[in-house]
Structures are given as C-alpha cells and as structure tokens.
C-alpha cells in the first residue's frame, strides 16, 4: 500500500475541491454558508447532452441491459417485480421495463435545467404508488454507467463519467422529491 500517504498530517482542508474539472463555481455563499452547490455546471450539462445524443442509437440496449444487470448484481431488487412471471436478467419483462426507464432518463435530459419541476409527476408516482426505496436509484445508475462504459469505452472518459454520474444522482434526488 502507499507508504507515503498520510503520515498523520491533517489533509482535510483540500483547497482544490472547488476547482475540479474547470467547473463554474461550485460553492455558493448566498445566505447559508452551507449552501454548497452540487448541481451540474453548464459545461457538465453540455457534456451530458452531448454524450446522451451519441448514445441515442443504443439507448434501448443500454436500458434493457442496465435493468438486467440490476437484478443480476443486486438480486434484492427483484422484490419490486414479484408481479412478473419472470424477473431474471435478460427476460422479456425486464428488458421491456429497462427500455421504459431509459426513455424516462432521456426525457430527464431534456429537462436538465429543472429536474425537480420537470419530474414532479414521476416523483409522485414513485412516492405514492411504486414506493421504490431511493437507494435503488443509485444501484441502477451504477449499472447504467457500466453499460455505457461497455458500449462506448472511448467516449465514456472520466470527465464524461463524472458529469453523467452527477446527472443521474440529481435525477434520483428529483425522483425522491415527493417521498416525504
């Protein structure tokens, strides 16, 4: 392991945190000083839109594959699909539903400037009807990222990765907005 790392000095105050990836300022000091802005910079929004546009011909595959992987890698997620005859990876209902979900994600890309407002009714659906534990949004996001990196290894650079990961996290937050 790393012999040089952390000889007990306090590295906690990393001044570089605000400068990552040529973003516009990530730190908003208006009102409450704890109001750190973790939402997407305009550059990151452009990165997300650009990558999703490149992905569009394969979006169905990615959606179907991502949900298959969710139930394969995190079998507990099958608990939400007990009403299906077959909730195994690669099954028809799983693939079909994965495509539906991906359609929703693409729709959210179009609403990237106001995810909370744009996803209000979807949030109500997830909150009052589906009641999916929000932890699963993260798990599905990870599976989507794996699929993107499989199908677009050159385009899915670390810079694209961070922008898309942030976007999916923002999307998840917007979906959980109406939960409580």
């Amino acid at each position: 392991m790393n012999d040089d790392c952390n000889d007990g000095d306090d590295d906690a105050d990393d001044d570089d945190d605000d400068d990552d990836d040529d973003d516009d300022d990530n730190c908003s000091l208006e009102g409450n000083y704890l109001n750190v802005n973790m939402s997407l910079s305009s550059k990151q929004k452009a990165t997300v839109k650009d990558f999703f546009s490149k992905m569009s011909t394969r979006s169905d595959d990615i959606g179907a594959e991502a949900l298959s992987r969710l139930v394969a890698v995190y079998p507990q997620t099958k608990s939400y699909f007990s009403h299906w005859k077959d909730a195994s990876p690669g099954s028809a209902p799983v693939r079909k539903h994965g495509i539906t979900i991906m359609g929703g994600v693409y729709d959210a890309v179009g609403k990237i400037d106001d995810l909370k407002g744009g996803l209000l009714s979807l949030s109500e659906l997830h909150a009052f009807m589906l009641r999916v534990d929000p932890v699963n949004f993260k798990l599905l996001a990870h599976c989507m990222l794996v699929c993107m990196s499989m199908i677009f290894p050159e385009e899915f650079t670390p810079q694209v990765h961070v922008a898309v990961d942030k976007f999916l996290a923002q999307l998840a937050l917007a979906l959980a907005e109406k939960y409580r």
């Binding site: 790392c5 570089d16 400068d19 594959e65 890698v73």
Partner: protein, 147 residues
Amino acid sequence: MVEWTEFERDTIKDIFSKIDYDVVGPAALTRCLVVYPWTRRYFGNFGALYNAEAIMGNEMVANHGKKVLHGLDRAVKNMDHIKESYCELSQLHSDQFHVDPDNFRLLADCLAIAIATQWGSAFTPDIQAAFQKFLSVVVFSLGSQYH
C-alpha cells in the same frame, strides 16, 4: 464464511488472469479521483490533482493504481479466507491512513467500470455479479478492523 459457486471462483480467477494490471489499476484509481473528488484528500503528496487532465497524466496516481490492484491478488488466491487475509491491511487503512471505508466501495465501483471499458460485452451480467460480490467481500474485509 462466504460461499462461492464454482462459476464465481472460475470467474474471479479468469478476470484476474486476463486483465492488464498496468491499464486497469491506473484507470480505476483515476476514475475514482475524478468522479469522487473528495477521495483526493488521501493523496496530498501526489502533486497535481486539481482537474481530470492532471490526474490522468499523474504518474504517482498510475503507479498507485497498479499497487492497489495488486492488493487484490491475495483475495484471489485465498477466496475462502479473505477477511483474515486483510486483517493487517484493514488496520493499516484505519490507523495509519485514516481512510473512510466508504471509499473502498467507490473504488470498487470504478474498478467494475474500468473492466467494462476493456471487456465490452464480454463483461456479462453474471460476470459482473460475481466480480462485484468478490469486491464487496474485499471491501467489507478492509473495513473490518476499524474501531
């Protein structure tokens, strides 16, 4: 004790015999530092880490990525005693490096993505499941001696 199917054992051995450590290790650590910038807190003496380009060109990051990936070898060779194999390393990460163990999970996710970029569709759902199960055992073991 963790139970492994024959498929899982074969898959883990297969993955680690096929990956290029010099590519996957650096790629995984690089992604971790870019995607989860708070992880840079542990590498204050690694020089330039202020943006993605700097991290991707940083030789210390690359070398450390290889080192960390090789750190998984002992788990591959000892799949029935992973927790015991990492006892000392867990203590080290806790008492000397003071690494928040959640970071091990973040790096594990980046490792899955790094392999996915290399293998494409060969990284099937079943293989991903076996690999992530293996990593979650390692992650748990590395966190086991924290107090």
